[in-house]
Symmetry: C2
């Protein structure tokens, strides 16, 4: 029998799921809109039915070996989703236990950035690496740490919140209630805020002056920078400077071989990588200089959430096997 896994990404708008083999082929997938469900149990039953239908389409010689779930505020130790701000169901949702009961296979749960880290190790550009960091650049900034080949979960299961390290104690207001958090500068939202700050402070003409804050997105800023728009270029320079500076602190914590950048902002290529690497190296303690690679993620943006979740299962099974179970 050929083993395969189900990877599920619980998002604020949709939940996506797919069947994936060890090589990262996604051979069936589906999604479910979140708005249809007032009650978590109704949502779970519908998701479970949809996954079961999808599993029913798998070839006869294929065997389901586990389910992985990535979700904001996913707790690896408990198999739960806890007080997620992007979901309407509050409290502790025991999604891992429910899936295990339904499908009689292990179900692993973690937050989306940790899932991305394991996905990068199992399927992506971190294959063969034992020490690396992934930075996910979306609406916010998430991160996942792998040290000695193992995901760092932490004592409470909430490790890897680099987005809430402090750049400036009197800086920009953050959703978390603090001020000056890294993600208020370095994320899709952060670079928009930087563009607006630059438009306010300077007189340069810019094609971005005609776009409202709500309409502005990373792609527009990237395209403008590639057309040599001074404000857009400066916004990337500023974003990379802050990211590089803060990553220099991160590097001396865990001494990673590589840092992967994932998400919309990372797709801007040299616009973000060049200033990030320059300011990382400039701020590093000398004995670390020239030793850490800053690389794009090897996971394609669209499939990454399903593969990240799916990879939790392979990682779990392979660690059990390595320990003689």
């Amino acid at each position: 029998m050929r083993p395969y896994t189900v990877g599920i990404d619980i998002g604020g708008t949709n939940s996506k799921f797919g069947l994936a083999d060890r090589e990262g082929n996604v051979f069936a997938q589906g999604s479910l809109p979140m708005s249809d469900f007032e009650d978590f149990r109704d949502f779970f039953d519908s998701l479970s039915d949809a996954v079961r239908q999808c599993v029913g389409t798998s070839p006869k010689d294929h065997q389901l070996v586990g389910i992985g779930v990535g979700a904001a505020n996913g707790n690896y130790y408990q198999g739960t989703i806890e007080s997620a701000v992007n979901l309407k169901w509050k409290g502790v949702l025991p999604i891992g236990k429910l899936f295990t009961e339904e499908f009689k296979v292990p179900c692993l749960v973690t937050n989306d950035a940790n899932a991305a880290a394991v996905g990068e190790m199992i399927y992506g550009n971190a294959r063969g690496m034992k020490d690396f960091v992934i930075i996910t650049l979306g609406t916010g900034l998430g991160s996942g740490f792998v040290c000695g080949g193992a995901l760092i979960n932490g004592h409470n299961g909430i490790a890897g919140e680099l987005g809430h390290t402090t750049v400036n104690q009197n800086g920009r207001h953050c959703n978390c209630g603090k001020r000056g958090c890294l993600e208020t500068y370095v994320s899709a939202t952060g670079i928009k805020r930087t563009v607006y700050k630059l438009l306010a402070d300077h007189l340069e003409p810019s094609e971005l002056r005609g776009i409202s804050f709500e309409d502005l997105n990373t792609k527009m800023i990237t395209d403008a920078a590639n057309r040599a728009d001074a404000v857009a270029k400066e916004a990337f320079e500023y974003t990379g400077r802050i990211l590089g500076m803060k990553l220099s602190d991160t590097v001396v914590h865990t001494d990673p071989e590589a840092i992967f950048l994932f998400g919309g902002l990372a797709l801007a290529g040299p616009l973000i990588f060049e200033p990030t690497i320059y300011h990382l190296e400039k701020n590093l303690m000398p004995q670390f200089r020239g030793r850490v690679k800053v690389l794009p993620s090897g996971l394609e943006n669209q499939r990454a959430p399903i593969l990240g979740a799916s990879s939790l299962v392979w990682d779990h099974l392979e660690k059990l096997k390595a320990n003689g179970y």
Copy 2:
């Protein structure tokens, strides 16, 4: 046979060694001045002879099971000491291999702060903990991370250099060549620099005005603060504020259960713990608040280097056993 280990601490002035059992009893010890040796091989031969003599005094029913070495710039992966600034022998010193050849037992090498971390886990206040950080406050600031029960070594074996995270890019000059590193503010030397800055900036009378920079030490500043000296009290407040602020970044990296403070500055008790905890909590992302303990090390300062080095062996043997070897 009762198993025991040799713990060796290679320092700039002396090397200390001792025999220790699993309970942390040090039942024989000695030391060797470093100034006597021009050549590393001469030093090793004398150290090896001294250790052998010490081992010869152990009871007949005791068996040597391993040697641990703590040294600035100790490399765990290679068993070497590399380009240590506090030793006169440059290049790569293969001390682990030499001890293994001499004594026919495993020899583990790491840097002194990492040895302190393992020591805290095996013998100290971190017994039973799987996720914690130790901060060693001496001439500089060292640190060691334990995550999921394992010491974080990093890709190059140089993880845990918190002393060289940046407080202020334009701040105090650091031995490493950078400016504004954490250890230039938070260490025995850092608080002396702060006292001198305060004496320069302010007009308050202070008993510390009569002491030269070279003569001033942490104990004098602690004693003055305990006698309500305004400058000494302010120096501790300032030191704790910077340490707490930077530890809030560290906590969101690895989500530790506890942070241990070790060394002379930590002996000042509430003078350093109170401002550190206050500013740590104030700067933490809300979901981490109230969850991390800041505690004094459980290792007595004098025996800590020998116990830290010795603990590397127990940790190594117990991990082998847990993995079925």
